[in-house]
Symmetry: C2
Subunit: 144 residues, 2 copies
């Protein structure tokens, strides 16, 4: 996993909170990347039905309410795998040894349990939760 | 995270289960890697007080009972960070934008919650649990 996930959440918070149309360039400046990276992300988010883009007037809008949009849906939209991946398994254990023969299924099961916990947490958390936490920080900073 | 964690668990299951002294070469053949990689791992496990090596007769032995040795202790012994890391954060959000200013602390807090869950699970799980699961698979396979 690279920083696509956090960049996508950043992008969606901007889209959710903006009254004026947002271009890829504006989003890229805030995320700290280039516009083509943002276009790749917004392309994936469009493909998953999370946002739509407005060709004429420019900009993007959410197709789901922030309260209904889970971090899990965002993760799935922008990642190559459908499952959250936490721990890697070594690929070539030897079949000639009992430990080598069973280590992969044993660890895969144990690691999957941990990954499923992470997935449940992402399913429980919505874009609205992120926005609320951001507003809390904003309130505490005493500005804006 | 690379495959050091699963390779270290593999190594420790072998050490826990072996009556005869195990060399780095024998462990490496089972893990599917080279002996110098195993020596690097066993060096880290020694440094953390998980195993000791026997210079004269060769081989390694556990300094902790498998029931007391948690996967978290193994993870900490072989990884560069003391914390389980699941999601990356983008590094250069812009301070000029409200979202850019608060996205990192907001996501860091949310992601840390998920990572702490994973850590709790690794603290709950011991090397003995891995060995038990392996024995279960062995029993079901009807061999050995």
């Amino acid at each position: 996993m690279d920083t696509r996930f956090s960049s996508a959440i950043h992008t969606l918070i901007m889209i959710a909170g903006s009254d004026a149309p947002l271009t890829s360039e504006i989003i890229a400046r805030s995320v700290g990347t280039n516009a083509s990276y943002i276009r790749r992300l917004t392309g994936l988010l469009k493909k998953s039905g999370i946002i739509e883009s407005h060709r004429g007037i420019g900009g993007f809008s959410l197709l789901q309410r922030p309260e209904d949009l889970t971090l899990y849906a965002i993760y799935q939209a922008i990642s190559d795998t459908q499952q959250v991946h936490v721990f890697d398994l070594h690929r070539n254990p030897s079949d000639a040894c009992v430990v080598g023969r069973y280590i992969q299924p044993v660890l895969a099961e144990m690691f999957r349990g941990i990954e499923e916990q992470a997935e449940r947490e992402l399913k429980r958390t919505t874009l609205a939760d992120c926005i609320r936490r951001m507003q809390d920080k904003l309130g505490k900073s005493g500005c804006e």
